[in-house]
């Protein structure tokens, strides 16, 4: 827990640098759009994510001035992003390592639960049971 109380901001985000970053972001947006036009299979996902991470780090580091503030502020962002990855990783790992028939869409036997919708739980006595 790097200690970051009360120290002056060293360095500033000058308008010139922020304009440069703005143009860079626009360029990346157009680039990612063009990449998506022709289908590169699994590579298209990778490229799109790489460009998105690049744009996000530009915004976070300069527009949100993380570049100029050390310590706890960065840790807050890093932890939140790590938790996002943690949740996504284990959810997808679970889907992949599950018993195959427990995943949706391999078993369309299941009709829409019209019957379940109309279920009024407080049935007086269950069918046939004392």
């Amino acid at each position: 827990m790097a200690d970051s109380t009360a120290h002056a901001d060293h360095g500033e985000l000058s308008p010139a640098r922020s304009a440069l970053i703005y143009v860079g972001l626009l360029a990346l947006t157009v680039a990612t759009y063009l990449f998506s036009r022709h289908n590169l299979g699994t590579w298209s996902v990778v490229i799109a994510l790489v460009i998105a991470i690049a744009k996000a780090s530009l915004v976070a580091l300069f527009f949100m001035q993380l570049w100029y503030h050390r310590g706890s502020v960065r840790l807050a962002l890093a932890t939140a992003v790590l938790w996002l990855f943690l949740l996504t990783f284990f959810v997808v790992a679970d889907v992949k390592s599950r018993y195959p028939l427990t995943n949706p869409n391999t078993n369309p036997l299941w009709e829409p639960p019209a019957a379940a919708q109309g279920h009024s739980p407080p049935q007086p006595s269950p069918s046939g049971r004392p």
Binding site: Y99, T102, P108
Partner: protein, 350 residues
């Protein structure tokens, strides 16, 4: 020793192979827990009696533990915990991979009752008959909400997810009657959703199964359900054939391999089909039921999409019956007793 500990801990009898394995780990874990907590409690009390405050101005030394003592107190519990995990996880993986030769039973959970149907045998409400000393695999699905199939005497529990299949297996070791309970909250009468596993000697079970298949034992075990007509015909396959004839499937699908409007059903099961828009599909239960519900989704090459959808016209059990019937159409002669599919590969290898 096992009996003594089992009674002390109020554990139900150990009626399955898995139960005995789990209970040995259970004893080790619970005894260590009791020892550890009593040791901590007694040490605290001993320290209190030994170091009680004698005078108001008593001075106490500044003490901090050496690093090795602290490290030891972390590593010793961690060692215990990881040992338990290793043993526990290997048992769990074994519980998750049913043996190859296990007998198949379809379980359907519905708000507040259990329904069991044997692939080539009878249906039963609330009572599951299994042979002793043979692994039984349960393919379970639910009609409405999440239930959980729990047999305390077998130490086996598995949630039943609606719309999907979850599987578990057990091998009962001694004949008897063991209670089934629902362990996942599923509504008003969650506590009344009980059933019974009746374990018979293998020869007893085979004779019961043969009776059922000949349709002689017409009276149903357990209470008949009111809102669902329990198929009286003993044989699911024959029932599937009856429905296929009623619904007019056989007008387009031949059963003896001859070409017809739709693909033939002979040897269709687990055959790799070439699809219209390229790509292939293995005709397993999933594909068979999907093509009944939504025929245009995957058309086999060389056939035109004329098949009407049966969504809403066929209830779940009827679709399952037709799927069984398709599976039974084999040019190779059908072996009565053993069910060979679906093919299980142990989870680890994939």
């Amino acid at each position: 020793m096992n009996e003594l500990l089992r009674n002390v801990l109020f554990l139900p009898e150990q009626a399955s192979t898995f139960a005995r394995k789990v209970d040995s780990l259970h004893y080790f874990v619970i005894i260590t827990t009791m020892i550890a907590s009593t040791v901590v409690g007694l040490t605290a009390l001993a320290f209190f009696v030994r170091f009680r405050r004698r005078s108001e101005t008593q001075v106490t030394p500044l003490l901090n533990p050496p690093w090795w003592l602290e490290a030891m107190f972390v590593l010793v519990p961690l060692g215990f915990f990881l040992a338990w995990f290793a043993r526990g996880y290997s048992d769990f993986v074994e519980l998750k991979t049913p043996p190859k030769d296990s007998m198949d039973v379809y379980v359907q959970a519905k708000q507040w009752m259990w329904k069991f149907s044997y692939p080539d045998g009878p249906n039963a409400i609330g009572v599951l008959r299994v042979p002793a000393n043979r692994p039984v695999r349960l393919m379970m699905t639910s009609r409405d909400v999440i239930h959980s199939f729990f047999v305390p005497s077998f130490r086996v529990k598995q949630d039943v997810v609606p719309g999907r299949y979850t599987e578990t297996w057990f091998e009962a070791i001694e004949p008897g009657r063991y209670q089934i309970l629902c362990a996942e909250y599923c509504g008003t009468n969650h506590s009344l959703m009980r059933g019974e596993v009746i374990v018979l000697r293998p020869e007893e079970f085979d004779s019961w199964l043969a009776d059922q298949r000949r349709g002689r034992a017409l009276q149903q075990d357990g209470a008949p359900t009111t809102d669902e007509d329990v198929a009286s015909v003993a044989d699911l396959v024959r029932q599937g054939e009856k429905i296929a004839v009623q619904q007019g499937c056989l007008k387009c699908h031949s059963v003896d391999g001859s070409p017809h409007i739709g693909p033939t059903w002979l040897d269709l099961y687990l055959r790799r089909e070439q699809l219209e828009g390229g790509g292939t599909v293995v005709a397993d239960e999933g594909y068979l039921t999907e093509s009944m519900m939504d025929p245009r989704a995957k058309i086999v090459r060389g056939f035109n999409p004329v098949m009407p959808t049966f969504k809403g016209k066929l209830a779940g059990p009827e679709v399952a019956a037709i799927v069984e019937y398709v599976k039974s159409l084999r040019s190779v002669p059908v072996e009565q007793a053993r069910s060979r599919r679906p093919v299980y590969e142990p989870i680890r290898r994939r």
